[in-house]
Amino acid sequence: MSTTTTVPVRTATPIPPKREIASTREDFPILKRMIHGSPIVYLDSAATTQKPEAVINALVDYYHQTNANVHRGLYALAAQATDKYEGARAKVAKFIGAAETEEIVFTRNTTESINLVAQSWGSRNLKSGDEILVSEMEHHSNLVPWFLLAKRTGAVVRHIPILDDGTLDLSKWNERFTNRARLVALTHVSNVLGTINPIAEIAERVHKHGALLLVDGAQGVPHMPVNVATLGADFVAFSAHKMLGPTGVGVLWGRRELLESMDPFLGGGDMIRTVSMTDATWNDSPWKFEAGTPNIADVIGFGAAIDYLESIGMNEVRRHEIELTEYALEKMHAVDELEIHGPADSLVRAGVISFNHSDIHPHDLSTYLDRKGVAIRAGHHCAQPLMERLGQNATARASFYIYNNREDIDTLIDALQSAGRFFGRR
């Protein structure tokens, strides 16, 4: 099993952190809240992250100072709003190492970004019998759009299974990736197992046969340095709200020539060049894909989130998560009743730990932990095929981000142990 990834190894921290990660907690107003009388321990950042003051202020400032529609007005406010909106696009491009700012399309979320590719690239490029390859660890958002596309075009969706350790079973690659494969749609990081997939290695296999690679970056881009120039993907989709930004903003990065060759996604204002009573011509990308008034304020807020992450440095974000994940895995392995899913090596996993308690259903665990101030996720995590593979109806999941610390893990472990006593009472 290869573990080739773009992730820095433990010792590789050539760039020293620009600021101490331990101090970031203070920047998140919500973390000062009490939940059911206890200080909040937020361990559900894989679902959405909390927002720093700087992002909240960017939203307020925009509505206080700059609100106007973009790309239209000829007055100062409209020009300033457009500059800020397009400035955020440039920040995103630089953040992921895109060759050009025009390769960044704003959508509503990762799901919409993937649907955009399925619709605008898939409908034109796939025909009956063509194949789309996914994996057994995909989120529903990287499965269902392909099922819909397959229904429309007669294409076939196949999948790469996973091994018991939660990594891809690449020994099945040659069997599943046939010469009819046109697209591989794969998650960078599993939202359940935390597994970091070897994207660069897979990209090489995919491109050798002239197929394309779409990467679901929802759990990858927020948590480690991701550079699209070296990642090897053709499309990357991710969401602002999983990386300190507001909800309602997603990103699709695509190689310029691919975006140029694709049909529009939605029709309407802003995405056209000319319209007559019977026909229209399209704007250039990325605006071709951004019909109607975009989510201006939240895109600008996302720009502030990227500034914030860059002030820490993504190497430091990753280093902090490796450290926290190792600490959590060690503590959790010491609790006999816990079965922990996913790879054991913290260098090939992100800060996402799914687990089951031998005697307590994930929902009961989550309800109990909530009353101790600890927020974890319980359920199928929008990954029902993976639940089937794990032989579980549901799992509990703790996930981390920059504002979590060892005390959060300690509180989790204490609560897990007292839950064991509570439900085990006779």
């Binding site: 009388g37 259903h361 929902h363 109990y368 639940m387 509570f422």
Partner: protein, 161 residues
């Protein structure tokens, strides 16, 4: 802190009676004759139930349930299996309706025997868990109503959504 209050509410949710039903679920058996059968599913959490009913003279003679899920959904299904045998269709539906209302904060009508369901009263303080408690009962209602309409066993399934 009001940790005391949290512990009181947790105790009220997970009463000993509830944990007992969870640990030894009633109705986990095979019927010698199945007149109605239906699957229930909570798509939000993945809990699943299979329910089979044996009828005689428009009444529920016996019920078998197999529920895979949390304490609340398993205990509720177990209580259903304990309560239902001997009830007419109308009585069964009235019981289901009373329990649904109970989960939304309305006490059951005076005089109605709700058996151990009383122990699930604490669920109403945990709104996100009400669906867990109702899975078995929604499945039962759908099974009985569908059978009434078609006069035979349905093969569709119930979801809490």
């Amino acid at each position: 802190m009001d940790d005391g209050r949290n512990d009181i509410e947790l105790d009220a949710l997970y009463r000993d009676t509830v944990l007992d039903h969870f640990r030894s679920p009633r109705g986990h058996k095979t019927l010698d004759r199945i007149d109605l059968t239906r699957d229930g599913y909570n798509p939000v959490c993945g809990d699943r139930i299979t329910m089979s009913v044996k009828l005689s003279d428009n009444a529920v003679e016996d019920v078998a349930v197999n529920c895979k899920g949390c304490v609340i959904s398993v205990a509720s299904a177990s209580m259903l299996a304990e309560l239902l045998p001997g009830k007419s269709r109308e009585e069964a539906l009235r019981l289901a309706d009373a329990f649904k209302r109970m989960m939304h904060g309305h006490p059951p009508p005076p005089g109605l025997d709700i058996g151990d369901l009383d122990a699930l009263d604490g669920v109403k303080n945990f709104p996100v868990r009400v669906k867990c408690a109702l899975l078995a009962w929604m499945t039962l209602i759908d099974a009985l109503e569908e059978a009434e309409k078609k006069g035979d066993a349905p093969d569709r399934s119930t979801t809490t959504e």
